[in-house]
Amino acid sequence: MSAAHGRAVRVGERVVGPLDRAAPEAKLVGLLGFLLVTAVTPARQPGVLALQGALALLVAAVASVEARVVLRRLVLDAPILVLAVTYAIAGHGPRTSVLGMSLSAPGLQVGLAVLAKATIGIVAVSALSATTPVSEVVVGMRRLRLPGWFCDLVALSARQTAVLGDDLERLRLAVAVRCGGRGRRAQWSGLARALGASFVRATERVDRLQVAAHARGGTALGSMVVPGPAVAAATASTWALAALPAAAALTARLAL
């Protein structure tokens, strides 16, 4: 969205907006509430779904989500598109003619609604992830009383993803340069080699992390989720702000 506003947002120079400062637990609950309202909106109310879509886009704009990021994620809609088309073609009920094709009217309606809801979900989650680093997401999960071991698990795996991702890229490049062929077979075996080597290195990282834990004095790892003072706790006004999209979506659903 930021590009549309003529704001250049690059890594490290994000404009800090109201959603960046809001407490993560409120954002998580607000997101879930909004998506639940969208989920229960029936397919026969396309106007309400359109309004909810506009709401999601508005929130994404406030969050200064980059349009590029959202557009790239729309690829995830592809399998849903296939099933939506199947609904329209193979659904029962009265037929309707679209561009010369005979389609099932209820099937088309449900297919479009499913596609719309999936897209709303992608936009809404993008607003959360653009304004909330994973480290804050897990702080929010912890404050929402999810089990500690589980929050630790998610926090550590998110942290290790960057390390292992770089590592796999280097391995793939090395494999491609040294034994790269152009055929499909070479591509598959190249990826398998890189993935196998990357797995071995991942297990070595486990040992390193364990050594680090011992060095810190205990045998246990210690809590991974450290809610420092940097992550604000939700106040009444934060909760109210976070509930706004869900409340607006619900109003649209009930009023129309």
Partner: protein
Amino acid sequence: MHIPDGWVDLPTSAGAGAAAAAAVAVAGRRTAARLKERATTLPAVLAAYLLVAQLPALPLGVGTSAHLVGTGLATALVGPSIAIVCVTSVVVVQALVLADGGVTAIGLNLLANGVVPALVAAAVLGVGRRWAAAASRVHATAGVAAALATMAAAATTAAELAAGGTDVIPAGTVAAVVGGAHVVVAVGEGLLTAAVIGVVARLRPDLVPRRPGRRPDALTGPAAS
């Protein structure tokens, strides 16, 4: 594929969420008992590995591509309990950070991509245990297990869509579309899993269980340090 928000109705999503939470709680307890002080590090690093391993896509032809899913691979290497814990972390990160799969559908996706395929893969590995006693066959068994796990994931997804989706279309049609689309993916998953296990077995034979389903001590035994 991941089920997005708003497709499957809320009672089905909530039911799947409860079932998945129960399964993860059991898997988490078993993981903690088995791994002791490594109960966070090993599953977390493996989850990161699975997240990263899913990114490189391979062309399958006809405009589609495949990527590793990895539940079968993880089950073959560390057993179903730890694999389920790993995939839980993967599904949560995908839903909340990568916008891949619905937030209200986390339970559905966890059941379809984690719990069911891990149990199916473990069952296949158990059946193939005697045959795979020879080290050279370990990766073949793992490949078959991963392929069948992928089909089980597709079947679970189709069942979830049939149970909580719409009734404008017969459930059989949905199952045929989802299942048909996954046959090629399953074959690819099986081949890639077998190849990856083959590479790991060459580099570090101690990391691959000689008899699939049995956990190797180098990975899940007492900490090396």
